[in-house]
């Protein structure tokens, strides 16, 4: 085999490895791209550190809260107020009511989503129950706070924003031992086995 061939083979092998790595790198790359272009439909899952965000003469907007329990996660989960009227450039606190109605300890993760999606980069939160997983003992209830602000950059055509939270049951992701909720043998007859 001539040297040219060997060199080509080497380069191509590196290319293959490089592209495989690239596919995994797409995850942080997407985040960077979204940040740089401002084309971000996703909401930050951590507290903002922007200290100059508050202004005095913001405009009126309304924010509607929507909740959903993924896969019929059994907790009670609903906003304390369905709709609030606030001003841009000012922090506002809202709460969601949660209650674990089962007889086992469970952990939930709330995931936010906003419509219209171009409002997302302008939504900042100082505090949000979506930043961490929430653990509730059997029967425990809580009022979970969000301290949010829509910055001044919110496009002027947007007068109403819908902020939705979906809660997911993430108990399994955390517990080493299967919680009692899942350990009973629910397999009656011939059901599909889970893939794990």
């Amino acid at each position: 085999m001539n040297n040219g061939s060997r060199k080509t083979i080497k380069i191509l092998c590196f290319a293959v490895i490089g592209m495989f790595t690239f596919s995994f790198a797409l995850i942080p790359l997407y985040n960077v791209f979204c940040e740089v272009t401002g084309l971000n439909g996703k909401i930050e899952l951590r507290a903002t550190n922007d200290s100059n965000i508050e202004i005095d003469n913001g405009r009126d907007i309304s924010v509607q809260f929507v909740s959903h329990n993924n896969e019929e996660m059994p907790w009670v989960f609903k906003p304390s107020e369905d709709i609030i009227n606030i001003k841009t450039g000012k922090y506002h606190t809202a709460t969601f009511y949660v209650k674990n109605t089962t007889n086992t300890k469970m952990t939930a993760q709330a995931i936010p989503s906003v419509a219209p999606s171009n409002a997302a980069p302008h939504l900042k939160k100082l505090e949000c129950f979506c930043f961490e997983q929430q653990e509730l003992a059997p029967g425990e209830e809580a009022l979970l706070p969000i301290r949010l602000i829509f910055d001044d950059g919110l496009p002027s055509t947007i007068k109403n924003v819908v902020l939705s939270y979906t809660i997911f049951d993430v108990t399994d992701y955390n517990d080493v031992e299967l919680s009692q909720h899942h350990s009973d043998d629910h397999h009656d007859g011939h059901e599909m086995e889970p893939s794990l």
């Binding site: 191509l12 596919s23 997407y30």
Partner: protein, 528 residues
């Protein structure tokens, strides 16, 4: 090899092919391996076709008559996977194996033993995939595009085997592509500059680079799936901070170049055939190369046109709309060049030419529906309907598949030394032509009228055209049995073929005997 051995006449050291079945198991000869790939792809084509007939049989009338919806979803998934990864891609690799070394004046592919491995892992991969039909929970049922979380959290247990077989198929393609690129870049006969290379070789050079770039991304996507399913990660799971839409971005970053991988060699084949049967040098050779290159480069920046309804921001949707529309320009250039080749040519209509002409016309129709799909607001009404199914079947069946059939008819006299039966070939063409149009043209209407894809049953207003489409499908399917017969008949005997075979043929492969010796161009030919 030491200089001492090289001084003798090379033919002394090359025996014919080994005897017996193990010849096929151990061969490192590009002609043998090409034959293996072609037969494998034909078998997969018939299997994938049978699955299509199960689908069309169920859709013959409204109501569920033949299969349960669960099984129907397995059929549509496997049909797609088998056709894409088992029929179209291996067929083109088979053609590359047979033709590229001969066309560039090389004695074989650059890495003959890796070539053997690239082939033999394929039957293994498909055995794994197809055996999933018999596993508990059934075969994969989430579409050949396997979106998460349907393909992760909600998948049957066979999904793990599916991932395994995709990894193997990807490895096969990657190894094959390395072989093709090294062969083309490093083993051309002296005097054959890149621009003197035939267009089929060019099309495969570009295709091989695309494969190197995107098959590893597919591997990444299925690895992430594997990790989500078995190792508790959350790439595609919102609960863990992931995103189901991320899957679609990664998949289609592979998926869009993939469809160009499935058509570029067809472009190369068409150029050879139209030139030969018009007895006129191909119009615009240089621009054909530039067109294929532009198509390949553009293919990397249009992936999200498969995702227009996913909720992307306006700027992204506009970008992907414009970039997608742009691909029409180099594609149009190619079509114009083929027509200009025929114009004022001296045309005869042997079977390869019939298939090539049908390719140009019907692929263009598929291209037009593709342009319509590129228009984002209109796509809101087309997406995930039979309009899309009609589009991609037009570019793949009377597109890629017709080009493969054309190639077989065109080169089989070279490979076997026997002419195929021209009357039977023409019959196969006309039956396939009618079959393919009766099957897929009405699907444009069904889609526009509102029938979604991947539906096992439909509302009554879609009944008539579904019935007609199903009839066309059975006609097309039956015609391929005729094709099998023709191929077998040709191998077993027929009018003897000359070296040139066709009056208008050009290229190094036509300087060799028909059939060519087991080892060819052991001494590189002179190229002017």
């Amino acid at each position: 090899m030491s200089a001492v051995i090289e001084s003798h006449n090379h033919d002394d050291h090359h025996h014919g092919p080994a005897k017996g079945l193990t010849r096929w198991l151990y061969t490192t000869n590009h002609k043998d391996i090409g034959t293996l790939y072609l037969w494998f792809s034909f078998a997969m084509f018939l299997i994938g076709g049978a699955m299509a007939l199960v689908i069309r049989a169920e859709l013959f009338q409204p109501g569920m008559q033949i299969v349960e919806p669960e099984f129907y979803n397995q059929m549509l998934t496997l049909h797609g996977l088998v056709m894409v990864f088992g029929a179209v891609m291996p067929a083109f690799v088979g053609l590359a194996n047979w033709l590229v070394p001969m066309m560039v004046g090389a004695p074989d592919m650059a890495l003959p033993r890796m070539n053997n491995l690239s082939f033999w892992i394929l039957p293994f991969a498909f055995f794994v995939l197809l055996s999933s039909l018999f596993m508990e929970g059934g075969a994969p049922n989430f579409g050949w595009t396997f979106y998460a979380p349907l393909s992760t959290t909600y998948a049957p247990p066979s999904v793990t085997f599916f991932i395994f077989s995709i990894h193997i198929m990807g490895a096969s393609s990657i190894m094959g592509s390395i072989n093709v690129i090294v062969t083309i870049m490093n083993m051309r006969a002296p005097g054959m500059t890149l621009m003197k290379m035939p267009l089929f070789v060019w099309s495969w050079l570009i295709t091989a680079y695309l494969l190197i770039a995107v098959m590893p991304v597919l591997a990444g996507a299925v690895t992430m799936m594997l990790m989500d399913i078995h190792f508790g990660t959350s790439f595609f799971n919102a609960a863990g901070g992931g995103d189901p839409v991320l899957f679609q971005h990664i998949f289609w970053f592979f998926g869009h170049p993939e469809v160009y991988i499935m058509i570029l060699p067809a472009f190369g084949i068409t150029s050879h055939i139209i030139e030969t049967f018009s007895r006129k040098q191909l119009f615009g050779h240089t621009s054909m190369v530039w067109a294929m290159t532009s198509i390949a480069i553009l293919s990397f920046v249009v992936w999200a046109h498969h995702m227009f309804t996913v909720g992307m921001p306006l700027a992204a949707e506009l970008f992907f709309m414009w970039a997608t529309m742009l691909i029409a320009v180099p594609t149009g250039v190619k079509v114009f060049n083929w027509v200009a080749t025929m114009f004022k040519g001296s045309i005869t209509y042997e079977t390869p030419m019939l298939f090539a002409i049908a390719f140009v016309v019907l692929f263009t129709i598929g291209g037009f529906s593709g342009l319509m799909l590129a228009i984002t607001p209109a796509d809101f009404q087309y997406h995930d309907t039979y309009f899309v199914v009609a589009h991609f079947h037009y570019v793949l069946v009377p597109g890629s598949i017709f080009a493969i059939m054309a190639a077989v008819y065109f080169w089989i006299p070279k490979w076997t030394g026997n002419m195929y039966d021209e009357r039977l070939g023409k019959l196969h063409f006309w039956l396939s032509f009618v079959g393919v149009n009766v099957t897929f043209f009405p699907q444009h209407w069904i889609g526009l009228a509102g029938m979604p894809r991947r539906y096992p049953d439909y509302a009554l207003q879609f009944a008539d055209w579904n019935m007609i489409s199903s009839i066309g499908a059975f006609l097309f399917g039956a015609s391929q049995i005729l094709f099998l017969f023709i191929v077998l008949k040709t191998i077993m005997g027929g009018k003897k073929a000359t070296s040139k075979v066709w009056e208008g043929s050009r290229g190094l492969e036509w300087t060799l005997e028909s059939p060519p010796p087991y080892h060819t161009f052991t001494t590189p030919p002179k190229v002017d």
